[in-house]
């Protein structure tokens, strides 16, 4: 079983996040692994945990990231959880990619891994990246690779070569399945990511991160980067702070004060 988990290097949502011009400021001091990708890594590791020792021996989980050279912290975190290999695709030509450029680069990374000789059975992603929150790259990677997409999974099971999921969308509860190879995205409700153990933390420090360029992936001339994007960023502006909060401490009249506020502002 060969699994690729796509991971993203994003600004920590607990830090102050900013734009630099029209692009997300990727200040390395607040850069981290996209939290939702931990669910994807966990899902991959659980699939491997479920294999027989023989099957497990021939298996690997590869974390694949399109990131600047400063983005290794995300892959190190993936190593700490127990991922076998980490690949970072880094190229100035990829900066400013839109959803399609990102998906094309990730799909090219998967194909490059397959060119090593063994097929990639499963690509697993998180449900979204917490900086952009688009939630569409998983489906686009599947389209690029020509593989079925099982997205936003709440539960995952693998039986032989068939992957089955259940999912909760805004509209319905659904169950569906597809034969491997396939693309899977997992919701944040799918599992609880494991805590790294000491041994893995130590091992993660010295693990090699493989760095590939756009040329390594055959992406020259592809619609990637700002030049290939079909949208053009025009502006990014910080919103003014909210006016001072009107704070009431309840001494028996708090609810009435709340109602009065809503009535005064014509919200009732």
């Amino acid at each position: 079983m060969r699994i690729v988990v796509t991971v993203k290097y994003v600004p920590d949502i607990n830090a102050e996040r900013r734009f630099e011009g029209c692009r997300v400021d990727r200040d390395p001091s607040v850069g981290t692994l996209n939290e939702l990708d931990e669910n994807a890594i966990e899902a991959a590791l659980r699939i491997l945990d479920g294999l027989s020792d023989d099957d497990r021996a021939g298996s690997e989980v590869v974390a694949l990231s399109v990131a600047p050279a400063t983005g290794d912290v995300a892959l190190r975190k993936a190593f700490q959880m127990g991922v076998d290999r980490g690949v970072r695709v880094t190229d100035d030509a990829l900066a400013g990619s839109d959803y399609f450029g990102t998906a094309a680069a990730l799909a090219a990374g998967v194909r490059r891994l397959e060119a090593e000789g063994a097929p990639v059975d499963l690509v697993i992603t998180g449900m979204a990246a917490l900086d952009g929150l688009g939630s569409v790259v998983p489906a686009l990677v599947a389209a690029e690779l020509g593989r079925p997409a099982l997205t936003l999974a709440k539960s995952v099971s693998l039986d032989g070569g068939t992957l089955s999921i259940t999912r909760e969308t805004d509209e319905a509860t659904e169950s569906m399945s597809a034969p491997l190879p396939a693309v899977l995205s997992v919701a944040d409700t799918a599992n609880t990511p494991r805590m790294p153990n000491f041994k893995l933390i130590m091992a993660a420090r010295s693990k090699e991160i493989e760095a590939w360029s756009a040329a390594d992936l055959g992406l020259e001339g592809a619609a990637v980067g700002a030049a290939g994007a079909r949208t053009e960023a025009l502006s990014a502006a910080e919103r003014p702070p909210r006016p001072e909060v009107e704070l009431v401490t309840d001494k028996g009249e708090g609810g009435a004060a709340l109602a009065a506020y809503l009535i005064r502002h014509e919200l009732v």
């Binding site: 688009g134 659904e174 597809a178 949208t231 609810g255 109602a259 009732v268």
Partner: protein, 352 residues
């Protein structure tokens, strides 16, 4: 900070499309009801050009009347390849994002449309992305505003980083595909109703990635008399501070005609089924009331675009107080029922 880019009209490669000549397709799935989020899309679409709806099934008579009132002259109903659909699990498979995406792309090719608008549900986002992928179109996910620049290019505004930043981008491809947040505009019927015709169009799934097989689909039940979280103008949400008792939250919600939501913690505890948050439902209502919710970044990412934010929390240090307009430090079990009673009394007084 970069200001808005002003492009000079003389530098354009293709002539701008006047609004009158622009065709805008709106995704209507399911076609058995028109949610307020979709009425908003029709309202927005009319400001951009001529409006058509795209469905995966026959619209009901009631839906057709509503579409007519909103100025939709044509419904394009996808005719899906039966064999492929059967292989993917039958009629339920028509809601698969890959199928809806293929239908949207085929509808654009059929009508030579310039713009596609879809609601901001997870399934519609994927469908929009797949349609844009097939068409080579530009894609904007979760626009909070949509307009045009001097060159006739579509320009979308987004609120990002938990509502702390506003961004704008222009679509540079010929076709623009956008998903639009609920409450981006106020739904308004057209000045005059029009007759609505349904026209079928063939959709091929050849050449697309293989479809998964749908083995079960249960549509979500909606609570009678309460709006859904996505489309509500008022949302009341409860968190860990409820201790599992959502009674006071529901009482205030019903007094306000609001949708009920929860924090992710409360859902993980099993107290409620749907949470407001950046990975749950993202809401942008006129009024948001958070009760017993501390306001972790995850939650703020899902509600900070609300116009007015009210918080009730027993902890005076709760982070949600930093981003709200009005706050009560107190026990929600006391505050919410008292507020609900005062609101009902106000309503009754006004009615009488």
């Amino acid at each position: 900070m970069t200001g808005p880019t002003q492009t000079t009209p003389t530098q354009t490669e293709s002539a701008p499309v006047p609004a009158a000549n622009r065709t805008v397709l709106v995704l209507l799935d399911p076609a058995t009801e028109v949610r307020s989020s979709v009425l908003e899309l029709f309202t927005l679409a009319r400001s951009l050009g001529r409006v058509e709806a795209v469905t995966l099934e026959a619209p009901t008579v009631e839906v057709l009347a509503q579409l007519g009132a909103y100025g939709v002259e044509t419904v394009r109903q996808a005719e899906l390849p039966q064999e492929a659909l059967d292989a993917a699990g039958g009629p339920d498979a028509r809601h698969l994002p890959a199928v809806v995406g293929a239908a949207l792309a085929a509808a654009v090719r059929r009508t030579d449309a310039d713009v596609v608008l879809a609601p901001a549900t997870f399934a519609a986002k994927e469908a929009a992305a797949l349609a844009a992928h097939a068409l080579g179109a530009g894609l904007v996910i979760d626009a909070a505003s949509v307009g045009t620049d001097d060159d006739g290019r579509l320009v979308a505004g987004k609120r990002v980083f938990a509502g702390a930043w506003d961004t704008r981008c222009a679509v540079t491809a010929e076709v623009a595909v956008l998903t639009v947040r609920s409450n981006a505009v106020v739904p308004e019927p057209a000045t005059a109703a029009v007759p609505t015709e349904v026209e079928g169009f063939a959709v091929s799934l050849d050449g697309a990635a293989p479809l998964p097989t749908v083995s079960g689909r249960t549509p979500k039940a909606r609570t009678e008399g309460r709006p859904t979280l996505e489309e509500a103008a008022v949302v009341v949400a409860g968190g860990r501070g409820t201790g599992g008792d959502f009674g006071p939250v529901e009482e205030l919600a019903d007094a306000l005609g609001a949708a009920v939501g929860a924090s992710r913690d409360a859902v993980f505890e099993g107290w409620f089924d749907r949470y407001v948050g950046q990975t749950g439902v993202t809401v942008a209502p006129r009024l948001y009331v958070g009760a017993g919710i501390s306001g972790a970044p995850h939650h703020r990412g899902g509600m900070q675009a609300a116009q007015v934010i009210v918080a009730v929390n027993s902890d005076p240090e709760a982070p949600i107080f930093e981003i709200c307009d009005f706050a009560v430090v107190g026990d929600l079990a006391d505050v919410l029922p008292q507020a609900a009673a005062a609101i009902r009394a106000h309503r009754d007084g006004r009615a009488g």
